[in-house]
Amino acid sequence: MVAEDSFISLRGITKVYGEGATAFQALKGVDLDVAQGDFVAVMGPSGSGKSTAMNIIGCLDVPTSGTFRFKGFPVETLDRDQRALLRRKYLGFVFQGFNLLARTSALENVELPLLYRGDPKAERRETAMNALDKVGLKEWWDHTPAELSGGQQQRVAIARALVTNPDVLLADEPTGNLDSERSVEIMELLAALNREAGITVLMVTHEPDMASFARTIVHFKDGLVDRIEQGNGAKAVTP
């Protein structure tokens, strides 16, 4: 496998928090490649480094050493604002706690990334409505998070992540706060987006049931990639 061809490529990534005696090495030289259009579930016990790796891939954090190429571009050379612009253009985020703006309608929440992109108002509205439609919440556009169920809130969050047509969707325990029925609905939605829109999905989870929706499952252990296996998602598309 050649690094330059890879969509997302991590080579010898380390991350150290703190200094001196209290220093903690979260990542100890991670090598990982993710192909475009893949659906990757990242698993591992807490402290295994999976969240740190996700933050680096999400361009929210920078590695202490190693190279991280996104579409062949060395991300570690970018400064804070350049990484923000990269996130704005290519990445979408879904969090465990939904992280919607309170007292703000679903539509306004979904519009938020478009605001930063500087879209004109009418266009912004239409794009956001389409995104809400994709997650099946078109009728709920004027409801605030407090008026929506957990599953609905996560759908709004997914709509917000999708609204800019990102290449990659990063989901950090997206079903962590949901019951199993809602969790399956959300996973089906993510799988459908991956399958139909070709969005690369990276998801952190500790539930094997949820991980099984992915095509690829990456296991982290002690700051390193432990093993990689195929998920059910891969079987589904290759009958």
Binding site: N55, L60, A84, L86, R87, L101, T104, P113, L115, G118
Partner: protein, 402 residues
């Protein structure tokens, strides 16, 4: 981009209406206080100047004695002589007219009514020195003045209390021991600010008052009108030298008379009220700064409270400057809103207080614009630190913040 930021700020402010209002309360009070104080201060200054102008400008009032008090023991300084008046007229340059005055008090009686009032004996020069138009009748003729006839010009207060509904001109009434014909009616001048009702007066020829009331040829006060082209200070100086000479004050002897310069008093009072206005405005200005600190305080709380929100914004791709601008614009919009509300309240308070304080209502665009500008500047200054803090947050930590 700025339009979007403005929109975001407005949304955020409207989302927390009560908190926004409380945050900006300090600015509201500060702006309202500054504008009210300065406006009322200026109105008071204007009112004082008006009252002084009612006394007549460019007038020197010459009285025996030192200053307002008689000062210590010793014999009372002598009044002026009629010759002093002539001397001033002839020897002091820059003098338009000189009006001697002799004063007494007496009770006036007309039919059933009686009224105790001030008698002012003077010459027609009195009406040259200070403009005081008649509403009816005429001034003294030189013949009446020379003969010391019992004719009088009455003030509006006397007319009202003595003659009630009768037309006073041509009527004869008793005052003290004499009978007097009303030949003129003075227009109303109002309160003097200090010194009571100026309209409670009966003006007679100087000689009449000297003969029938004071019993001497002494002149109690001399009013000197000063030509606009001359400075009152210069005339005062010449006048002082002349009077010192005529009253035989040599060497180090202090003046036993005083010259009251209405213009100088006006200037002094104006500068005093202006200074007081500035002091009060400065105190009110402090409340503006306190208001600014209030904004900073709440904005800092707001940044902490909205750490997660900032994290979300950063995660979805807001750059640091956008977050900075969001919070800065929010602070400026808040404080400017406070400024506008403060200005409106100030107009209301001024509207209520001007009739109470008996000063003219004024609108000073300068101080209004200035106060508004300051409220904006306070937003920028005190909003910057919290905004800077928001913009420098680490997105990962911000997202994890509970």
């Amino acid at each position: 981009m700025l339009g979007t930021t403005f929109l975001l700020a407005l949304r955020s402010i409207l989302r927390h209406k009560l908190r926004s209002f409380l945050t900006t309360l300090g600015i509201i009070i500060g702006v309202a206080a500054v504008v009210t104080m300065v406006t009322l201060g200026k109105a008071t200054t204007a009112a004082v100047q008006q009252q002084i102008a009612a006394l007549g400008t460019n007038i020197l009032q010459v009285r025996p004695g030192q200053g307002f008090g008689r000062g210590g023991g010793g014999p009372r300084p002598p009044d002026f002589e009629p010759a002093d008046v002539t001397a001033i007229q002839q020897q002091v340059t820059g003098v338009t007219a000189v009006a001697p005055q002799a004063q007494s008090t007496a009770t006036a009686i007309y039919e059933g009514a009686n009224w105790s009032t001030t008698i002012n004996g003077t010459t027609s020069a009195y009406f040259v020195v200070q403009p005081w138009p008649l509403t009816a009748g005429r001034l003294f003729t030189p013949a009446e003045e020379g003969a010391g006839k019992a004719v009088c010009i009455i003030g509006s207060t006397v007319a009202k209390n003595l003659f009630r509904n009768v037309e006073p001109i041509g009527k004869r009434f008793r005052i003290g021991d004499i009978s007097c014909d009303v030949i003129g009616l003075l227009s109303t001048r109002g309160q003097a600010g200090f010194g009571g009702d100026q309209d409670d007066v009966v003006i007679m020829p100087l000689k009449t008052v000297q003969r029938r009331f004071t019993g001497s040829t002494d002149v109690r006060m001399i009013l000197v009108g000063v030509d606009q082209a001359y400075s009152t200070a210069q005339v005062t100086s010449t006048l002082t030298d002349l009077l010192r000479d005529r009253r035989h004050l040599t060497g180090g002897k202090p003046d036993d008379f005083n010259i009251f310069d209405t213009k100088q008093i006006s200037d002094t009072l104006t500068s005093t009220t202006t200074m007081l206005t500035q002091i009060v405005a400065a105190v009110a200005g402090i409340s503006l700064v306190v208001g600014g600190i209030g904004i900073m305080n709440i904005m800092l709380v707001s940044v902490t409270e909205r750490t997660r929100e900032i994290g979300i914004r950063l995660a979805i791709g807001a750059v640091a400057s956008e977050v900075l601008m969001q919070f800065l614009v929010e602070a400026v919009v808040l404080s400017c809103l406070g400024g506008v509300i403060g200005l409106l309240i100030a107009q209301l308070v001024i509207g209520v207080l001007t009739p109470v304080m008996q000063v003219p209502w004024t609108f000073d665009p300068q101080i209004n614009a200035f106060a508004f500008l300051i409220s904006g500047v306070i937003g920028v200054v005190f909003g910057y630190f919290p905004a800077r803090r928001a913009a420098s947050l680490n997105p990962i930590d911000a997202l994890r913040h509970e």
